[in-house]
């Protein structure tokens, strides 16, 4: 077959609903199990197994279709953005792997769960987790991927806390929060990818991402690597794994290590080897980013691998040891992915095949390890290595299975681990061959060292479990169900078959899968008919084993493997915990503090305002009291003035009374005066009468004397005239001297007196007198009446 002619663009696309149905089978099965679980306790475990079996068969049944081309299906309006599903060969391989692992472990669970509590919850969530795990493999875009990824994270939580102990609850929470955090970081990467590339299909995107600065691409890659790294247990994101594995039953760990971790690996393969490649092989420069990322990923993988192995060496708890072993094995796969990316355009098929093959192999032997320890725990209730030992007498068959898996994981030829390790090792050698740099050489050496460590910690595990003295309390006869051995036998068959004929698998499955990627066709061709059992890889394997045996001897002799590192010496304790607890504390302190500060700020404002109001109130009240005071004063003044007025009125009264009295007195005076006047007038009248009589007598006297006097008068008249003339002359002279005035009137009065005395006219004079008096009286009366009238 001319593989070089096949390119991704030419792969047929077949529209098929089956990829959608695939994850729905366990989902619906889980609901069904939940519904039926209440009815009968016997049926649901079997039903769960049947669901996983159906899932496995329907996945396997896709093979004829997948061989023809990609299966795809789109649900355009679901979740508003649309869901899309796609199954190509790589998806198919992983989906098959996952459903196989799930089916085998569920089979094992049937007898195992009989003694466990919460088995309904276990079986229901087992199926839900399978749905998520399988869904991840069959999706065609990152949103759908994320949907199932989260389903897996959330559903698997319930499996982690299967024991419901405090330790399990804590570990579960830890796992869940880390899983969700990882999911969110992943989601951030998906957002970035969507905004930069315009879509989130799981397809080569480098052309769409052309011109995007490298740091943006790096951010996307980091987001994805963090999200998947947490799931895959990549150091330093592995921290949840030892905790969760240490607290949950071995069968759950078998799911986790055998299948769920592979979702992370699958994601890393997709993002590194597919998304960051151009759809067209010709655009060579577009590979640069992936190549430089590959270099970093190689080192991440090596760190994970070597540290995982070292940590595994020091564990005393079988589950924790196996968890570090899983971490370390993921390191192998990450190294392989990294070297594939590093060798883009050269021999990337080698790394790719190594990664996928190793993922499969790891599932096979790691699941059997977990199941072996599940059986041991089932009987002994113990995972701690220092309390186990000598079990080969009780479980000889288990020891055989253990040794088989042991050989496989440490890379014994003719077992499956050897083939995939050889591929990864060769990929590193190729990298060194092409780039000739010292660090890649170092990487290759580290890889050898890590493999040797792998042998050592499994030797320790084997020694502690099966060799040595058998504790007394375990010296009883155990009956192990056939159903428990059956899954182990199946896995062992897989280990042996893949180990003896790796080429068949690689050529029929892996290389066609690789050819759907943008890989150098020559590299793929190199792998057809790869000589696994030629001299060079066997030599490398021998080196590893020699080194491993040496290390193991030293370790056992000096009991290095039983050294307990101080509890504080771990990535978790040194880096993660302080950072996380600092962030958490900062948030939980800062938030409420801000909130309280604002609240108290408002209260402060309110209380200040209230104080202000109080001041205003005081001002108001003082103003009020001022008004009150002043009004009181005014009142007092008014009162005083009223007193004054009263006294005034009194005074007026009194004065008016006085005046009245005065008037009365005046009246009296007046009356008396009147009387007096009357009297006097009467007297005057009498006097007047008398004087008239006198006058008459006088008159007659005068008349008689008048005649006589007339003579005299005549004579005196003459004299008078003469005198008059004299007076006139003197008067003229006096007039010149005297100013008109009193003197002159006096003078004139005197003159008139003089004249009246001379011109005596008694009648005239009387009347004149009388009139004047009356006038005076009238005026006086008027005044008196006026006064009386007024002050009355």
């Amino acid at each position: 077959m001319n593989l070089a002619a096949v390119t991704a663009g030419e792969t047929a696309r077949i529209y098929h609903i089956w990829p959608v149905i695939l994850p729905l089978i366990p989902l619906a099965g889980g609901i069904l199990v939940f519904a039926l679980g209440r009815l009968s306790k016997r049926i649901y475990p079997l039903l769960s197994f049947l669901v996983t079996l159906v899932t496995l068969l329907s996945t396997a049944g896709l093979y004829p279709l997948v061989k023809q081309g990609d299966l795809y299906c789109q649900l355009p309006k679901f979740m508003a953005v649309g869901l899309s599903f796609r199954v190509d060969l790589l998806s198919f391989i992983f989906a098959l792997l996952v459903s196989l692992a799930w089916c085998v472990v569920t089979l094992f669970s049937l007898p195992y769960m009989r003694q466990e509590k919460y088995s309904l919850t276990y079986f229901v969530f087992l199926l839900f987790t399978l749905a998520g795990n399988l869904g991840v493999m069959v999706t065609g875009d990152w949103v759908t991927f994320f949907l199932f990824f989260e389903l897996m994270t959330v559903a698997s939580y319930v499996l982690v806390i299967q024991n419901r102990t405090d330790e399990a609850m804590h570990a579960g929470m830890y796992t869940l929060v880390l899983g969700i955090a990882g999911g969110l970081v992943l989601l951030g990467g998906v957002f970035l990818l969507h905004s930069l590339a315009g879509h989130v299909q799981i397809s080569p995107m480098m052309l769409a991402l052309q011109g995007v600065p490298a740091w943006s691409l790096a951010t996307i890659l980091i987001c994805f690597m963090v999200g998947f790294g947490i799931k895959a247990g990549m150091i330093p994101l592995h921290v949840w794994m030892p905790r969760a594995y240490g607290a949950s039953p071995a069968i759950v760990n078998a799911f986790s290590s055998g299948a769920m971790v592979k979702a992370g690996i699958y994601g890393i393969i997709r993002i590194v080897l597919l998304v960051f490649t151009p759809a067209d092989m010709a655009a060579k420069e577009a590979f640069h980013f992936a190549a430089s990322a590959g270099y970093v990923i190689i080192w991440l993988g090596l760190i994970t691998m070597v540290f995982g192995a070292l940590m595994a060496l020091l564990q005393n708890h079988a589950m924790r040891l196996l968890s570090y072993s899983s971490i370390s094995q993921m390191g192998y796969i990450i190294v392989a992915i990294g070297s594939a990316a590093y060798l883009f355009g050269l021999e990337e098929a080698m790394g790719f095949s190594g990664a996928v093959f190793h993922a499969i192999n790891h599932t096979l032997y790691k699941v059997s390890f977990f199941l072996i320890f599940a059986i041991i725990f089932y009987h002994t209730g113990e995972y701690r290595l220092d309390r186990l030992g000598g079990l080969w007498r009780k479980f000889p068959l288990l020891m055989v299975f253990f040794l088989l898996s042991f050989g496989a994981i440490s890379g014994l030829p003719l077992l499956n681990g050897y083939a995939s390790k050889t591929l990864i090792h060769d990929a590193l050698l190729e990298a060194h061959h092409y780039y000739h740099t010292f660090d890649i050489y170092l990487a290759e050496r580290l890889f050898v060292l890590g493999s040797a460590f792998t042998f050592c910690y499994y030797a320790k595990l084997f020694y502690c479990t099966f060799l040595g003295p058998l504790p007394e309390k375990y010296n009883v006869n155990y009956h192990t169900s056939f159903l428990m051995y059956l899954p182990l036998a199946l896995l062992a068959a897989g280990i042996i078959l893949l180990g003896i004929w790796p080429n068949i698998f690689i050529e029929n499955y892996l290389l066609p899968a690789a050819s759907q990627f943008q890989f150098y066709r020559g590299g793929i061709e190199h792998l057809t008919g790869f000589h696994f059992f030629s001299e060079a890889p066997l030599n490398a394997s021998a080196t590893i084993f020699l080194l491993a045996v040496l290390l193991a001897l030293i370790g056992f002799r000096f009991r290095f493997f039983w050294w307990k590192p101080p509890a504080n010496l771990s990535v978790e304790k040194i880096v993660l915990q302080p950072v996380v607890s600092f962030l958490y504390r900062m948030l939980t302190h800062l938030g409420p503090k801000t909130d309280n500060a604002i609240n108290s700020f408002y209260y402060k404002i309110a209380s200040d305002f209230l104080a202000l109001c109080r001041v205003v109130g005081q001002m108001d009240s003082s103003l009020d009291s001022f008004y009150e005071n002043s009004s009181r004063k005014a009142y007092q003044i008014v009162e005083k003035s009223r007193n004054l007025e009263d006294s005034l009125v009194d005074a007026y009264d009194r004065s008016s009374k006085g005046a009245y009295q005065l008037i009365e007195r005046g009246q009296l005076v007046d009356e008396s005066l009147n009387e007096a006047y009357d009297l006097s007038s009467m007297k005057a009248y009498r006097l007047m009468e008398k004087s008239r009589q006198l006058d008459e007598s006088l008159n007659s006297a005068y008349e008689s004397s008048g005649r006589a006097a007339k003579n005299i008068y005549d004579k005196t008249a003459k004299m008078d005239n003469a005198l008059n003339m004299a007076y006139e002359r003197s008067g003229k002279a006096a007039k010149e001297l005297i100013v008109p005035g009193k003197d002159s009137t006096q003078t004139s009065k005197r003159k008139s007196k003089v004249s009246s005395s001379f011109k005596i006219n008694p009648m005239e004079w009387n009347i004149k007198n009388l009139n004047f008096d009356t006038l005076l009286l009238a005026i006086m009366l008027g005044i008196v009446f006026f006064v009386l009238f007024f002050f009355r």
């Binding site: 679980g37 209440r38 306790k41 649900l75 355009p76 309006k77 679901f78 979740m79 508003a80 953005v81 509590k117 919460y118 088995s119 309904l120 919850t121 949103v143 994320f146 949907l147 989260e150 959330v154 939580y157 319930v158 806390i161 419901r164 102990t165 609850m169 579960g172 929470m173 869940l176 929060v177 969700i180 955090a181 969110l184 970081v185 989601l187 951030g188 957002f191 970035l192 969507h194 905004s195 948030l587 939980t588 800062l590 938030g591 409420p592 801000t594 909130d595 604002i598 609240n599 700020f601 408002y602 309110a606």
Partner: protein, 511 residues
């Protein structure tokens, strides 16, 4: 130019907004009077009113989906200032959401309120508030909106203090004071707008098209007025006090719907009083954005430290309203879709959560989160609804919370602001940190102790309805909880379509 039937149709459509606002308001005295006669009649009439209101609003759907807008003036107080009615897609979105959740909460109230006192006060106020809330959405100008806004705020005070405990009265007082401050700020803003533009109508396009000092003050006052209602930092202080003390159906409405009136008001301000160019050129959006970010982080962070269930939910509401405020200020179409969709999502999620919390309190009297271990096994439907809504809050696909987070984040990236995506993701993680322990304790907590008693080795998380609340309580919250699921996953996503249309509508000038 309409002839015959079409004219008649238009006429009826025009009358509906008036009808749905006035119908509950006029039913209020009827309910009050009937409550003296018979409790059953009162309850029945309340539910009937809510249901009729919902279906009346829903009958506008075909009309609104055609993209039509109706606007008319009822009467004028001054020239350019009167009571006007308006239907457009945005008001329809909010109205249909409100009347739906209201209907659910009213049905839920029937049993929840049974042991409570003051029911003769509760139901009329509940229904009246519905009318006032719909009035806000169907108002055609800011003056009418203001009137209904104040009406709703003041009348809902009675709901807040319903229990009449000292805490409730204190919280109610705080609520009242803040409401009045907000109302005054809003009033000033509206006056300032009127001064600047000579009109406060929603049909005039952009009212203020030039940034000025007065315009800025108006903007800030709008922000105070509406932001206060939406629980925006630093005006959120009344919210964590008032929401937990109200009866749970009222809390669900306060948190689920009435907060949204603030968001609705801000949307109208951003797209009708000002416009994108004005706000962006004057950099006023930065103010809102900073406040929104603080609101998000603060709400989530404080929720972590609360152990009273309803208080935790109330702080969560603050954080979620921060999303809404952030979404509208992104000024991208995608962001706006996410924003309006998040209004839907949050209404569904938070009312479910409050109703579930209410059912727990009603049934067991437990409010403290630490006491809730094992409650999920006793009340599986209640906690099931709670779980769906809480997972939606965290943003687990395919629930509606994920969809709103997705669209909001893409909007933020479209606007070139990836930092907001980081904020959203951090907030999601915090949501996880404070919701997950509740769920976990409810379903898986306390099992050890139960089994320690020796009875029932194989007690499973089976369905045991003896511990569950009554059907009238369970059904509304299950419907709302399933709404979180259906509005997330399913292809005929009414909420998403409406949000999409509304966003496009607003972006085209909202005419």
């Amino acid at each position: 130019m309409w002839e015959g039937d079409e004219l008649l149709g238009m006429y009826w459509q025009a009358i509906i907004p008036l009808w749905v606002v006035l119908f509950p308001i006029f039913m209020t005295p009827a309910i009050f009077i009937l409550s003296k006669r018979s409790e059953k009649l009162r309850d029945g009439l309340s539910v009937l009113t809510a249901v009729i209101t919902f279906f009346s609003v829903a009958s506008l759907y075909p009309f609104v989906m055609e993209g039509k807008t109706i606007e008319y003036t009822l009467f004028q107080i001054l020239p350019e200032l009167g009571v006007t009615v308006r239907i457009d897609i945005l008001s329809f979105c909010l109205a249909i959401l409100s009347s739906f959740v209201w209907m659910m909460a009213t049905i839920y109230s029937l049993d929840y309120m049974k042991p409570e006192h003051g029911k003769n006060r509760y139901y009329p106020v509940l229904i009246f508030t519905l009318g006032a809330t719909l009035g806000i959405f169907f108002a055609g100008d800011f003056f009418t909106l203001y009137v209904f806004f104040e009406l709703m705020s003041l009348v809902s005070y009675v709901l807040v203090i319903h229990e009449e405990t000292p805490t409730a009265l204190k919280a109610g007082y705080k609520y009242l004071i803040m409401t009045i401050i907000g109302g005054l700020a809003l009033f000033f803003a509206i006056i300032a707008t009127f001064e600047l533009a000579g009109s406060v109508s929603l049909s005039k396009g952009v009212l203020v098209s030039k940034p000025s000092t007065l315009a800025f003050f108006a903007f800030v006052c709008y922000l105070i007025g509406f932001g206060m209602k939406a629980g925006m930092f630093p005006l959120h202080v009344w919210l964590p006090e008032a929401h937990p003390v109200a009866p749970s159906p009222a809390s669900a409405l306060l948190s689920g719907i009435m907060l949204k009136t603030g968001a609705y008001g801000m949307l109208r301000v951003l797209f009708y009083v000002f416009n994108i160019e004005v706000v962006q050129s004057a950099r006023w959006d930065l103010l809102v954005a900073v406040l929104a970010v603080i609101t998000i982080l603060l709400g989530s962070a404080v929720a972590l430290t609360q152990f009273d269930l309803k208080r935790r939910l109330a702080y969560s509401s603050i954080g979620q309203m921060g999303y809404v405020l952030l979404g509208m200020i992104l000024f991208t179409e995608q962001g706006l879709v996410g924003d309006i969709f998040h209004i839907f999502s949050h209404a569904f999620m938070k009312s479910t959560l409050f109703l579930a919390a209410g059912a727990i309190i009603w049934k067991t009297g437990l409010r403290n989160i630490n006491d809730l271990a094992g409650i999920g096994r006793k009340m599986p439907f209640t906690m099931g609804a709670f779980t769906i809504a809480a997972l939606a809050m965290i943003g687990i696909p395919p629930l509606n919370g994920f969809l709103s987070k997705w669209t909001l984040s893409l909007g933020a990236l479209e606007a070139g602001l990836p930092i907001y995506v980081v904020i959203l993701l951090i907030s999601s993680l915090l949501n996880g940190l404070y919701y997950l322990p509740i769920i976990i304790a409810a379903f898986f907590g306390g099992e050890e102790q139960e089994h320690a008693h020796g009875e029932a080795q194989h007690v499973e998380a089976g369905i045991n309805l003896r511990g569950e609340a009554t059907a009238k309580m369970v059904i509304p919250m299950v419907i709302l909880g399933l709404g979180c699921f259906f509005l997330g996953l399913f292809p005929s996503n009414i909420a998403y379509e409406l949000s999409l249309k509304a966003a496009v509508f607003l972006f085209r000038g909202g005419m």
